[in-house]
Every structure is written in structure tokens, then in C-alpha cells.
């Protein structure tokens, strides 16, 4: 009985054991299946993840491409920047080590504290910068004392340097650390490198991608805490391309210096045929070298709040009423339209009445009988007032557009502004008001809503004197070995006879005793220029002021007239066009013309047009012609 019972129990146990065993077998099968799933089905996915875990791609910044002038004179270079670094974990006592270093080279106590604070926040194997821009002596001192300074090393970085400082600031621009916004719009991984610099304004910004170069990479195996275990392979970075500009450094430097005689001014010198720009100056400027290392807030605020706008490239972004420099456009438009001919004369009593309004000529006593040539030479306003109502704003605006006003040339400076050529449609659309005929009268002498940049005025002059070709201005000749292609300039279809008449007028402006810029004629043997003065009203002259004979130069600076001059040289076979705007310089003939004379004189002497831009100009050694 007991035996029988024991047998039953054993059998019962066996059945139960079988169930448990079956469960266990099931678990084992699940585990095996899961293993197969992870390794077979998802294996490749995990392989990729494992590889990513293991290998860290370390980017190495390329050297930024140089920017040079047409002769190879460097405008933007990379200077070596020696820094002393420390790896905290390699020092016995960081503070002690830093104090030792302090005995060797000059370091602020505040900087020491900054390094110690930074060391607490970062992994102990990351190198920290203690001091940068070390002099050679400091580098040597640190190197010699290296055995006593465990964990310290000298590191050579590169820093953008602009040898011409403020003389090229507005063309070249500057670089700065890539901002969050830069990183969002530009997906180049280089931008994620700490302190990686990108072009912020000027040529540095426009050609940033070419100048930047290609990142090198170093694949390093890292462990989970990011410490490098070993380097797997190394791909050299590719230096950015060298950019050759059309600028003549010497002329540029001179232009900037010449403008500094004024409080705020800008000038452009360009080739009337090729469109290349030889000088593009805007004064006052700033030293871009302050920006590369991170400009202080105070200094930046100072620049920003200055009413002479040193941060603005006025040569391309300054928009001024062109004043009398606009008269060539009105004259050409009138001649082309047949509103006037060379022989059409008119009498200037010193004012022009239109409806109930009296428009004044700049010369209160009047010019007497003038034709189109003498009206240009003596800048008679009345002549243009008179023809404007027959000509109409439409044809004036059309000629202005033809000659380059009211448009962006998409030259290589993104700071460029479009200016404004008003007409009926523009006024209706933007101000919601109809065009008054009186507005055509003042538009004919480049006043009213009319606005132009110095660059546009130079292009306008070039287009008149180059035989009516729609020349476009440009700055960049070569990117690396690659010539930047320029199109063939479109013919503007101007009657050469009309152009000749206008040019004759411009010649007389400078070279006729009665011309408004006769005082600024070039006296040097064999050199000559022609041009047109302009005085742009900033503030309406009140009747009271006119009656009292208040002199414009006695008004506060910001209410004085702008002084303008556009010119070309030589008179025969023009090659160079120039525009000068002296902000609040009172009179074009007195303030702007002499600047243009000096610029065009040096341009003709240097004659940069005789040496076309080449891909790799040999950087000249310092000789007598280059300072």
C-alpha cells in the first residue's frame, strides 16, 4: 500500500516535473530566438551603432585661403598664434603649476583663476588654453622650462590677420566665430568646431565657402568617456583657395588716407571697360583685427553709435541724392529723346517758375544763355528744370536705370544697396500718392527722392565714357587657379554723338575756366581728367535762410550739403572712372573734386589697367613702389 502510494507520488511528480521542464525548455528557446533576432536580423544595425560608438571623427580645421590684391599684396593672411596649454590631469597640482608658469611669463591672476575654474568643469584630459598670442621670447621661456612644467605645452594656432587694417576693412571685412545662426544655415560640420571662424562681412563673407577649405579628419578610437585611445587614420585638411582681388593695394591705401582729410567720405575707382575696381574706400573705417579675436562690447558700441557710421561701407551702401552728378543722365535722356539738341539754348535768370513754385538755380544771379554743354560745365540748374517737363520722369528714370542707378550689381559685397530711382509707379506703390510734375523738375537735377551709391555713380560715369557699354563692377579676379568669368557687357544703344556732347560738357567742368571744378584740374604734364561736380541738398533751404543768405557751411555738420564728384581719366581714351562723396562736405567743387583729382592722378600714374590680373601674382618684395 505504502509502496503503491509512493509510486503514485513519483508518477505525479514526474508529470509536474515535465511541465516545469517544458517551461524551462520554452524559456531557453525564447532566449535562443532573441539572440538570433538581435544578431541576425538586427545585427547590421547594431554593427553600425557599435562602430559609431567606437570611432570618433575628429575634425581638423583647414587654413583659410589668403586674400591678395591684383599684384599679390596680402590683404588677409593667417598669423601663427602661439598659445600655452595645460592638461590638468598631467599636473600634480594645477594651481601650483600655473603659479610656476606665472614666474616665467606674464599672466594675470584673473586668468589663472579662470583656468582653474574651467578645469573643474571640463574632463581632466582636455587641454585648456592658459594664454594666447605669446611672443617669441615667451615661447622660448616656456619651452626651456618645460621639464618643470608638467602637463603644459605650446600649441600653434592660426589667427586671421589683416595687414592693411582699416584701409581694406570695408572690402575684406572680417571673420568671427560661427554663430548659432550660421550653424543652422550652413551645415558644414566645420562650423561646429569650437572657435571656428567664418566670414562675417565683406569679401570674407561673400567668398567664405571658397576661402574656408576642406576639413581634415582624424579618426580616433575613443572609450565611453571620450578619451582617445589611438588614432586610426588621418586625412589632411585642404587649405582654402587664394582669392586675387582687382584692388590695387597702394591705390586703396592712398584713397583711404586721402579721405581721412574729411570727416566722412567714400570713393570708388574702377576700370570703365573691364569693370574691375581698383579702389573702394569708405572713411571712417575700423580695424578688422579687433574683430577676429572677439571685439569688446565697449569698442563695438562705440563704433556702432558713431554718427559717421564707421561700420558701414558707404561706397556701396551709402545712398545719397546724386545732385548735379545726375545731370549727365538728364542730358543724355533729353538728347536721346530729341527734347533738346546740341544747339538748344535757354536763358537762366537764376530761377525757374513752374506753376506756383519757384525753383532756384544754385547761382542766384543766373547763368545767362546756356546750351547743354555749358549747362553741364557750369552746372546750370535752370536748363535742366526747363527741359524736364518736356522730357518727363519716365524717360529720366529709364536712362538712370540704363546707366546703373536704382539697382544692385551683385558685385561681391553683399552690403551693396540699390539706391532709388523714383517714377510715377514707384510713388503710387510706395507712398500711395500721385506724382507731382514739380517732382520731375527736382529729379532732373538729382534731388528729391533720387538716391544713388558712390559705386553706382562710378558705374554711371564708366557707362557713359566707355562707349555706352553696360559695364558691371567686380572685385574678385581669381579663386585659386580659376578665373571668375565675366559676361560681355551689353550695348546700351546710346547715340555716340550724344555721348560725345555730354563728355564735352564733363571735360569743360574741369578744364574750362568757367567749369565748376576748374580749380581741381590736373596740372601734371600728360595727365588729365574730366568730370562733374554735385552738391546734394540734405535739408531744404528755407525762404528765410535764402533771404538771410545763411551760408551752408555755417549750419551744423549733419545739415550741410553732401559734396559729390564723378570723373574719368584720361580725357582722351578714358580708362578710369571715379566717384567721390564727401558727406556734408558742402560743395562738390570744393570738397569732392580735389579728392577725385588726387585719386585719378595716382591711378593714371600707377596705371593698374596695364597689368591684367593673374592667378598667382608673385608677392612683391618691399621696394620703393610699395610701402
Amino acid at each position: 500500500m505504502a509502496l503503491e502510494k509512493e509510486k503514485d507520488r513519483a508518477e505525479g511528480f514526474s508529470r509536474r516535473a515535465f511541465v516545469v521542464g517544458a517551461f524551462q525548455a520554452g524559456f531557453l528557446a525564447v532566449l535562443g530566438g532573441r539572440l538570433a533576432w538581435l544578431q541576425m536580423v538586427e545585427g547590421n544595425k547594431y554593427k553600425v551603432l557599435a562602430e559609431r560608438n567606437r570611432i570618433n571623427l575628429k575634425m581638423m580645421a583647414p587654413a583659410r585661403g589668403q586674400i591678395v590684391d591684383r599684384f599679390g599684396v596680402p590683404f588677409a593672411v593667417n598669423n601663427q598664434n602661439f598659445r600655452v596649454m595645460v592638461i590638468p590631469e598631467q599636473t600634480d597640482d594645477l594651481r601650483q603649476s600655473l603659479k610656476l608658469l606665472q614666474q616665467q611669463i606674464k599672466i594675470d591672476d584673473a586668468q589663472i583663476e579662470k583656468v582653474i575654474a574651467l578645469a573643474k568643469k571640463s574632463p581632466s584630459y582636455t587641454p585648456l588654453e592658459i594664454e594666447d598670442k605669446l611672443t617669441w621670447e615667451e615661447v622660448a621661456t616656456v619651452e626651456v622650462n618645460m621639464p618643470d612644467l608638467p602637463g603644459m605645452s605650446i600649441d600653434m594656432g592660426e589667427e586671421r590677420h589683416y595687414p592693411f587694417a582699416d584701409a581694406t576693412a570695408h572690402i575684406i571685412g572680417y571673420v568671427g566665430a560661427a554663430s548659432k545662426k550660421d550653424q543652422e544655415t550652413d551645415k558644414d560640420p566645420l562650423l561646429t568646431l569650437p572657435n571656428f571662424q567664418v566670414g562675417k562681412i565683406g569679401i570674407e563673407r561673400t567668398f567664405d565657402s571658397s576661402l574656408r577649405g576642406t576639413a581634415g579628419s582624424s579618426q580616433v578610437e575613443v572609450n565611453v568617456v571620450g578619451r582617445e585611445v589611438r588614432e586610426l587614420n588621418n586625412l589632411q585638411s585642404k587649405e582654402g583657395k587664394r582669392l586675387v582681388l582687382s584692388i590695387d593695394a597702394e591705390l586703396q591705401r592712398f584713397a583711404q588716407q586721402r579721405l581721412s582729410a574729411e570727416r566722412s567720405a567714400s570713393a570708388v575707382v574702377m576700370d570703365v571697360h573691364s569693370g574691375e575696381i581698383y579702389a573702394l574706400a569708405s572713411y571712417p573705417a575700423f580695424d578688422p583685427n579687433y574683430f577676429t579675436g572677439g571685439i569688446s562690447h565697449e569698442r563695438y558700441e562705440e563704433l556702432r553709435s558713431d554718427i559717421t557710421l564707421p561700420l558701414m561701407n558707404k561706397a556701396v551702401a551709402g545712398q545719397y541724392p546724386p545732385g548735379s552728378t545726375f545731370k549727365m543722365i538728364t542730358a543724355l535722356a533729353a538728347l536721346e529723346a530729341g527734347v533738346v539738341t546740341e544747339g538748344t539754348t535757354c536763358f537762366c535768370p537764376g530761377h525757374f517758375s513752374f506753376g506756383n513754385t519757384r525753383f532756384h538755380c544754385w547761382k542766384p544771379s543766373g547763368h545767362g544763355t546756356v546750351n547743354v554743354v555749358s549747362a553741364l560745365a557750369e552746372s546750370c540748374d535752370t536748363y535742366f528744370y526747363k527741359l524736364s517737363s518736356d522730357l518727363g520722369i519716365k524717360r529720366i528714370a529709364a536712362m538712370a536705370h540704363k546707366l546703373g542707378l536704382g539697382q544692385i550689381f551683385e558685385m561681391e559685397l553683399k552690403e551693396e544697396r540699390a539706391g532709388l530711382v523714383p517714377d510715377e509707379d514707384w510713388k503710387k506703390k510706395n507712398l500711395g500718392e500721385p506724382w507731382h510734375p514739380g517732382e520731375t523738375v527736382i529729379a532732373s537735377i538729382g534731388q528729391g527722392y533720387m538716391l544713388a551709391t558712390p559705386l553706382q555713380l562710378a558705374v554711371m560715369t564708366a557707362r557713359i565714357v566707355n562707349g555706352g557699354k553696360a559695364v558691371q563692377p567686380w572685385l574678385a579676379g581669381y579663386i585659386g587657379e580659376e578665373r571668375i568669368k565675366r559676361g560681355v557687357w551689353e550695348d546700351l544703344d546710346l547715340n555716340p554723338k550724344h555721348v560725345e556732347i555730354v563728355m564735352r560738357g564733363m571735360n569743360r567742368v574741369v578744364n574750362d575756366q568757367r567749369g565748376t571744378a576748374y580749380g581741381s584740374r590736373i596740372k601734371e604734364e600728360g595727365l588729365s581728367m574730366a568730370g562733374k561736380t554735385g552738391t546734394a541738398q540734405v535739408k531744404r533751404i528755407t525762404k528765410q535762410e535764402r533771404a538771410m543768405g545763411v551760408k551752408n557751411e555755417n549750419l551744423p555738420w549733419q545739415f550741410r550739403h553732401h559734396a559729390l564728384f564723378v570723373g574719368y581719366a584720361p580725357v582722351e581714351n578714358p580708362r578710369y572712372a571715379c566717384s567721390v562723396v564727401v558727406e556734408h562736405g558742402v560743395g562738390g567743387s570744393k570738397a569732392a573734386a580735389p579728392v577725385a583729382r588726387d585719386l585719378l592722378t595716382l591711378t593714371m600714374q600707377r596705371n593698374p589697367a596695364s597689368q591684367p590680373i593673374v592667378a598667382s601674382p608673385v608677392t612683391p618684395k618691399k621696394d620703393k613702389s610699395y610701402g
Binding site: 511528480f13 516535473a17 524559456f27 532566449l31 539572440l35 538581435l38 545585427g43 557599435a50
Partner: protein
């Protein structure tokens, strides 16, 4: 008849040695050797600091295992309750020390060795329940009173371990206990009712969990929830496993493990490291070893002529299997991270000791399979 007496009673040492399952011993050594290899690799190709120590420990424990196997099963039967009682007291001591001392405490330091009472409790619980069910009649197995007393054996250790808190071990203890009840012949409806009750109590249990435990469960359900925090272990473990492929990356070549992406590679996540280096075949090899060891245990159990031996051997086998299943399922992301080592392969003495004692007792059942045990 005389033959039987010799074996069960005071049979000669030589005869007893003959009845030791040398095949099982071989499997155990093979299983432990996987651990030595893995630990050697985990140290980057060094016996120090883990492999050498583990081997020494294993050698000592193997001697202990044989000794345990040779001790008369009647002695084990007799001291089953006292052993259980000692374990319970040790658990209480740990609990009290934990309250006085520094937070979660699981060990008692005896100077030369650190004892984790919860590990010993698993063995003693199986011993005690095997003894309790040994004398149970089929009527007893239907009596609430009887089953209630048996359940008391389980509830005490469970509560003590769970409050340590060591949820992994508490789960293993519960699972082993339930298996014992089932093997002893408790009515099936109890298990079904228990399952329903457990599901109903789950939300309440959830509230009792510590934040880090809740985190582990939540992270298990969605590892990407916190890929660099709590989910990191699971994610990295899966990457290591998955990237191993068929043949693995080769001995000492596991990138995840050697670049220390894999956490706890020498303890809880050693299976991962092994599979990363030895691939699918390596993983299957371990699973096959486990299957063989379990089969051996089942075979020993079924050959036993007394209920105590059957229950003891099978219970210990289930204990070992739960260890393995929980650990491997955890590293493969099938269950939350619970901190259960892979016995004998993971570095550490406590788990190895408890498993080896278990094997010793299992073999003891085989050596004394025909012993006549009293019924109380």
C-alpha cells in the same frame, strides 16, 4: 537489500565517489571555464584582477561541492529547518544593519568572506520546502492549513529580501518557491488564482517600488526614453550583442566591452561581452551548456527514490535555471535590468557559492538516491 543499505547508509567513501555524476561535474567545470575566459578578456587579456581570483575561488568551491555531495542526505534532511532558520536570522541582521548603517545593505562581512544571506536563502528555502513537502500526503496538499504553513516559508524571506531592496533576488526566490509548490503537487487552481491575484496587486506593488526600480521598468519598456541614463545599459548591451554577428568579433576584440561602452562587463553583463566576442555560436554554446546542466538535474531528480531528493534536486535545478534565464533575458533587453548575475560566469563569489552548494546537494541526491528517509 544489503546493497541498498550500504549505499544509502554508511556506504564506503569509494562507493559514494563512484555515484558522483562526473558528467555533471564536467559540465559545471566547462560552464565555469566560459567565465574564466570571459573574465580574462574583460581585463583586456589579463588574469588579474578577475580571472585568477575566480579560478581560485572555483577550485575551493568544487572541493566543497564534493564534500557536500558526500555528506549523508539524512543529515541534510535533518538540518534543513535549522539551516533555514539561520538564513532567516542572517537576513534579519542584514535588514537591521541596513537601517542603522548606510542604506541598502546586502552583505555580512565575516572578515575573510562577505556573505550575502539572500543567496544562501535560496538554497535553504529549497531544502526546507523539500523537507516540508517530503512528508506531505495527497490530502495535505489540498489542505489550506498545510499549504499556508508552507507559504510562510516563502513569504518571510521574500519580504526581507524585497525590502533590502533586492528585487531581482526576491523574484528568483518567489519563482523557486512557486516551482516547489507546483512540483509537490499543490492544486493547479491555486496557481491560476495566484496569477490573477498578482495581476490585480501589480498596481499596488508599483507604488511600493523605489524610484530607481520604477525607472528600470519604465526604461525597459522604452529604452530610448533615457538613452544616456537608465536606458544606457540596455541599449549598449544590445549594441554589443547585435554587433557580434555569427562568429563574433574574436577573443579580446570586443569593441563595446574593451572601450568600456558596456557597463559591468565583468559581472552582470558578462554574457553580452562573451557573445560580442564569440558571436551567435558562442551564445548558443552557453545556452546549450545550460540546457545540458538542467537536463542532468532533471534526470537526477527523477531517478531519486524519495520525495525529498526529487524535490531538492529539481528545485535546485530550477533555482539555477532562473538565475541564468533572468540574467540572459535582462542583457538581451527582454526584461528590466534587475541586477542578477550569470552564476559562475559573472565575477563574484556569492552567486557562485550558492550555485555550487546547490550542485553539491543535487549530486548528493544522486549519491543517496535510494536512501530511506523518515516521514514525519
Amino acid at each position: 537489500m544489503a546493497n541498498t543499505l550500504q549505499i544509502t547508509g554508511e556506504g564506503s567513501l569509494l562507493q559514494k565517489l563512484k555515484y558522483i555524476n562526473w558528467g555533471l561535474v564536467f559540465l559545471i567545470v566547462a560552464f565555469a571555464s566560459v567565465g574564466f575566459t570571459a573574465l580574462y578578456s574583460a581585463a583586456g587579456g589579463n588574469f588579474e584582477p578577475w580571472a585568477a581570483k575566480q579560478m581560485t575561488r572555483f577550485s575551493v568551491f568544487m572541493v566543497g561541492m564534493i564534500v557536500i555531495a558526500l555528506i549523508d542526505i539524512k543529515i541534510w534532511y535533518r538540518i534543513a529547518y535549522p539551516l533555514y532558520g539561520i538564513c532567516l536570522i542572517l537576513l534579519i541582521i542584514v535588514e537591521v544593519m541596513g537601517h542603522i548603517g548606510m542604506g541598502a545593505q546586502r552583505w555580512i562581512n565575516l572578515g575573510f568572506i562577505q556573505i550575502q544571506p539572500s543567496e544562501l536563502m535560496k538554497i535553504c528555502l529549497v531544502l526546507a520546502l523539500a523537507k516540508f513537502f517530503h512528508s506531505a500526503s495527497s490530502e495535505d496538499m489540498k489542505s489550506f492549513r498545510f499549504l499556508g504553513i508552507a507559504a510562510a516559508f516563502l513569504v518571510g524571506p521574500f519580504l526581507l529580501v524585497a525590502t533590502q531592496p533586492d528585487l531581482g533576488t526576491a523574484t528568483v526566490i518567489t519563482a523557486v518557491g512557486i516551482a516547489m509548490f507546483f512540483l509537490a503537487g499543490a492544486p493547479v487552481w491555486i496557481f491560476i488564482a495566484g496569477l490573477v491575484a498578482a495581476c490585480a496587486a501589480a498596481p499596488m506593488g508599483w507604488m511600493l517600488l523605489h524610484d530607481y526600480q520604477k525607472n528600470r521598468v519604465l526604461t525597459f519598456l522604452d529604452p530610448e526614453r533615457d538613452p544616456l541614463g537608465a536606458g544606457y545599459h540596455i541599449t549598449q548591451s544590445k549594441i554589443a550583442l547585435g554587433s557580434g554577428g555569427w562568429e563574433g568579433k574574436g577573443f579580446l576584440q570586443g569593441t563595446q566591452s574593451h572601450l568600456s561602452f558596456l557597463p559591468e562587463k565583468h559581472t552582470d553583463f558578462i554574457f553580452t561581452m562573451w557573445v560580442e566576442e564569440w558571436g551567435f555560436f558562442g551564445g548558443i554554446f552557453i545556452l546549450a551548456l545550460i540546457a545540458l546542466i538542467l537536463s542532468y538535474g532533471a534526470w537526477i531528480s527523477l531517478r531519486c527514490r524519495h520525495a525529498f531528493g526529487r524535490l531538492l534536486a529539481f528545485g535546485l535545478m530550477v533555482n539555477f535555471s532562473i538565475y541564468c534565464f533572468v540574467n540572459i533575458a535582462m542583457v538581451m533587453g527582454l526584461i528590466p535590468v534587475v541586477g542578477v548575475p550569470l552564476p559562475m560566469i559573472s565575477y563574484g563569489g556569492t552567486a557562485m557559492m550558492s550555485v555550487v552548494i546547490g550542485f553539491g546537494l543535487m549530486i548528493c541526491c544522486n549519491v543517496h538516491k535510494d536512501a530511506k528517509l523518515p516521514r514525519m
